[in-house]
């Protein structure tokens, strides 16, 4: 039987292979990972507990623990969405995505920290404190799935669930040097996923490898009667095996990658090296145009807050969660919501309420919807000429804690390259492509490479990402530490 450290160095697919081969038992795996989670000093977990997964033969994921972003409802287990307003709330039911994992035998490994209601790009908007990036503890892990990304990168979990509304899986995956997949909108049920912006929210895996992402996607995807916007994928996802990119065409959109969009030098270098690598693997790189993509952030910051302002209305102190008593109803609402929500959530509720107000709807919400449609059309047109669209996942490497908290706009720009895919509803993956030094100096940090595919093109996307991953041979933090030890 291998030691706990050895188990904890395995990817999810390796772990399952080990269990199947009888090298160790599901219980040993779960125990090893529970120990890893307990050692969390990144503030990656909001609830540390293990449920299920230890039973032999309970499904093909038996023995695989999955860390769950605290935005997924888990029956009887605290679920806060990173907000004070849900402190102590225990849902009476579990999210479909979580249910599908546990039905396949997987265990639940804690609930991970996140920006409050998934609103943020640094995890600093959590009501329960920020999360440290395991590569450099003075830096952010990205957000909003910051706890999930830090847990996987920091060796506290083999894989995790996140949600992505405008980049909340891909950006933290990039900043923490792991794989993050946002599937096509509708691929995985949203039932039980606490809503931020319903027309954009999508569940996805944060993993050590592309194959792991495929493994989890296949278990979670599928139509769900409880989510009428879910459709699932057309065919089951297979573990990717491609090692070359022969004849595969990659498009680089000038609007997102051009010289004037604020991409850090180091990030740009890694991006360009990756493009060269694509050509070495037999792929083609071409320029494509997404004429409206640069307006993505503006449209996103109308649409997402608009939906959020409505989605968050239910936190009113009447039925569950925080209630701050007052003399009358309106004061109770006001005090509960004043004390329960953090500043970024309040800012977005106000933005969204304004955008939907009578007299402003056409100028903001309706206009933003038009931009969204245009961006989707841009992608459709681009995919006539190329198989994938590629960009750096984040314009920057992980930035220092506190660096952007006073400047919401610069924080919003973290999602410049990821938001257009969210608006278009198409799948996109971030894989670690290399390291780059931050502009202010210091040790090198991970850089993510984003690949986006047409809707429901997950299998092709995973194959391309896998080929590139194999060629890049990125050394994860746990692998580096393993060597150092």
């Amino acid at each position: 039987m291998p030691a706990s450290e050895e188990i904890c160095r395995l990817s999810a697919t390796e772990l399952i292979a080990g269990i199947e081969a009888g090298s160790f038992s599901p219980a040993e795996s779960i125990e090893a990972w529970a120990g890893a989670m307990e050692s969390d000093d990144l503030n990656a977990f909001l609830w540390k507990g293990v449920e299920g997964g230890a039973e032999q033969g309970s499904g093909h994921l038996s023995g695989l623990p999955v860390a769950i972003k605290d935005i997924f409802c888990t029956s009887g287990i605290p679920t806060t969405a990173g907000s004070r307003i849900l402190e102590g709330y225990k849902p009476p039911y579990s999210a479909t995505a979580v249910e599908r994992l546990t039905e396949a035998g997987a265990g639940l490994l804690g609930k991970t920290n996140m920006d409050e209601f998934a609103m943020g790009s640094s995890n600093e908007n959590s009501a329960y404190g920020g999360v440290s990036n395991p590569w450099d503890r003075t830096r952010v892990p990205g957000g909003s799935s910051g706890g999930s990304a830090a847990a996987v990168a920091g060796g506290l979990a083999p894989c995790a669930l996140g949600t992505d509304t405008g980049g909340s899986i891909r950006q933290p995956a990039a900043l923490c040097g792991i794989v993050g997949l946002k599937p096509t909108y509708g691929a995985i049920s949203r039932f039980g996923m606490i809503a931020f912006a319903s027309s954009l929210d999508q569940c996805g895996p944060l993993t050590r490898t592309v194959a792991d992402a495929a493994l989890l996607l296949e278990v979670m995807q599928g139509q769900d009667q409880r989510d009428s916007t879910s459709v699932g994928l057309e065919a089951p996802i297979e573990l990717p095996s491609s090692t070359d990119l022969d004849g595969v065409r990659f498009g680089v959109p000038a609007e997102l990658v051009g010289g004037d969009v604020g991409i850090e030098v180091g990030v740009r270098e890694v991006f360009e090296q990756t493009l060269s690598r694509i050509e070495e693997l037999g792929g083609e790189v071409a320029e494509v145009t997404l004429p409206h993509a640069a307006h993505g952030i503006s449209a996103y910051y109308v649409l997402a807050p608009a939906e959020a302002s409505s989605n968050l209305a239910r936190y009113d102190g009447v039925r569950y969660g925080l209630r701050v008593e007052a003399d009358d109803l309106v004061s109770m609402y006001e005090r509960t919501r004043s004390e329960g929500f953090g500043p970024e959530v309040k800012r977005r509720i106000m933005l969204g309420t304004y955008a939907l107000s009578s007299g402003y709807y056409d100028a903001y919400y309706a206009q933003a919807q038009k931009v969204r449609t245009r961006i989707a059309e841009d992608f459709t047109a681009a995919f006539q000429g190329v198989d994938f669209v590629v960009t750096p996942t984040s314009p920057t490497v992980a930035f220092p804690l506190g660096a952007r908290t006073q400047d919401p706009l610069s924080m919003y720009l973290s999602d410049f390259c990821t938001v257009p895919m969210s608006l278009a509803g198409i799948p996109a993956i971030s894989i670690p492509a290399g390291l780059a030094a931050p502009p202010e100096g210091g040790p090198e940090l991970p850089v993510g490479f984003q690949i986006a595919a047409p809707a429901f093109g997950e299998q092709d996307l995973l194959e391309a990402a896998h080929a590139l991953e194999m060629s890049i041979g990125f050394q994860r933090l746990d692998q580096r530490e393993g060597e150092g030890a």
Partner: protein, 478 residues
């Protein structure tokens, strides 16, 4: 000054009698233990999503078809946002700019639209005001929350309070005949709000309208609208302006008071519900809805007038009161001898009176009388086997105790006297007992004959045919 003309439109909320709620699997209930039919979805827990009830779609299609509407190939839901404790999500899911049915007509009033939405929960306020402001505490029962509703909006084609009541009754009868709702105004499964404005007669413009709520019976609907027409008339005639507002009708004194602006003035911030896909009824669903339509009240009234030759008022009350109409149809089906008109008269006349007397409301099935026996009774009277006044006694007996008409005739000895000599003797006795009237008839005042006929009927306990008695009296005194 030109005369003022009322312009009235109605908005009707109908609770659909589906098995389950609009967006979750909870059963519908009325009067059950509070908060016993609830789940995370209808309580608005974090992360839940709505799921459209297909039965509700079919019912809405039936309503749309019955109202002669165009059915939308694709209709969508919006969110109507406002904070209130009876609204767990902080928004109501409702159809907005693409309703399921538009542009219909019922009787002489056009239907603007019919759309689907969900009902709010039920709030009870403790304390003096009965309203949320100023009450000590409020409790919420979420059983009703999420009940499927269809809101039907008429065009402002109605011109009087009485017409509003009649049209609402026709609409209720139509909905009841579809079986899609209990249509109970007191219990709130049918709620009628009115929009009222006045304008100079003959003008095309619309005046400022007010919205009337809480008129929970047809009588209150008529009274509320009547009162509002008068209120607006006085305002306009004294040179004042009508203010656009929502008024609450008080059934106890018939007064109207403005609802507090806080209770209804909202910017609802409508936007498309991202959790639901558009409703696109399949050809099969639409066909099923059409096939499920019964004979509708307006058509039924027409048939009663033309085919059964019923008088206008009788035809209307049988066609527009579903239970009464059903009873009549059953009696008709069991009948072989009586004319439909005779049966209709017994049902809408004496039977309804008997119901009222027994305090049984408007449902003849709650009385002990069988439809078949009412038909038999009508045939006996028409065939002169019993007199009309005996018929009345038989009906009363049937309604109170049940049994057969023939049995009542037998046990009460109400059969018509057919022996001529016996009749003659009774006629003679009647003339003798009313000498004054007899003199008046002799001197040409035929009106006085009534008293003698009455006496003959009384002596015979209604067992003589009135017409025959009259003839025989005239013969003797003529």
């Amino acid at each position: 000054m030109t005369a003022l003309e009322p312009v009235i439109g109605l908005e009707i909320h109908v609770q659909l009698a589906t098995e389950t709620k609009m967006f979750c699997g909870c059963r519908l209930s009325f009067g059950d233990e509070p908060n016993s039919h609830i789940c995370p979805v209808c309580l608005g827990h974090p992360g839940v999503l709505p799921n459209v009830n297909e039965q509700a779609i079919v019912y809405a299609l039936m309503i749309g078809e019955a109202l002669g509407c165009e059915i939308a190939e694709r209709s969508t839901f919006h969110r109507k946002n406002y904070f209130y404790p009876d609204l767990p999500k902080g928004y109501q899911i409702s159809q907005y700019d693409h309703p399921i049915a538009v542009d219909g007509r019922l009787g002489d009033v056009r239907v603007h639209r019919a759309h689907l939405e969900e009902d709010a929960a039920k709030l009870s306020h403790k304390g003096a005001s009965g309203r949320i402001h100023g009450s000590g505490a409020s409790v919420v029962d979420f059983n009703r929350g999420g009940t499927p509703l269809v809101e039907i909006v008429s065009e402002p084609d109605i011109r009087s309070a009485a017409q509003a009541r009649e049209w609402a009754q026709l609409l209720r009868a139509t909905l009841a005949s579809l079986g899609v709702s209990d249509c109970n105004m007191e219990e709130g499964s049918l709620r009628v709000d009115g929009n009222v404005s006045l304008r100079p007669a003959g003008s095309d413009e619309l005046g400022t309208k007010t919205e009337l709520k809480n008129m929970n019976s047809f009588r209150f609907l008529e009274r509320g609208i009547e009162a509002e027409i008068e209120r607006q008339r006085e305002l306009i005639e004294s040179g004042q302006e009508v203010e656009q507002e929502t008024l609450h009708f008080h059934p106890d004194d018939g007064s109207l008071t403005p609802m507090r602006s806080k209770e209804y003035a909202h910017d609802y911030r409508y936007f498309p519900e991202p959790d639901l896909v558009p409703v696109v009824p399949t050809a099969e669903m639409r066909e099923a809805a059409r096939a499920a339509l019964p004979e509708l009240p307006a058509a039924r009234k027409e048939r009663y007038l033309t085919e059964l030759d019923l008088p206008e008022a009788t035809a209307a009350s049988l066609a527009f009161q579903p239970e009464l109409g059903g009873f009549f149809e059953d009696a008709l089906a069991a009948n072989s001898d009586a004319t439909p008109r005779a049966i209709a008269n017994w049902v809408t006349g004496d039977l309804v009176a008997a119901l009222r007397e027994q305090d049984l409301g408007e449902d003849p099935y709650r009385s002990k009388a069988e439809p078949r026996e009412i038909a038999a009774l009508a045939a006996m009277v028409e065939g002169k086997q019993v007199s009309h006044s005996a018929g009345k006694q038989i009906l009363a007996k049937l309604a109170a105790e049940g049994g057969t008409a023939a049995g009542v005739v037998e046990s009460e000895g109400l059969a018509q006297i057919s022996d001529d000599s016996e009749i003659d003797a009774m006629i003679d006795a009647a003339i003798e007992s009313e000498p004054e009237a007899a003199d008046q008839v002799r001197s040409g005042n035929e009106k006085a004959i009534g008293r003698i006929v009455g006496a003959a009927m009384k002596n015979s306990q209604g067992r003589i045919d009135g017409g025959l008695a009259r003839e025989k009296i005239l013969e003797r005194l003529g």
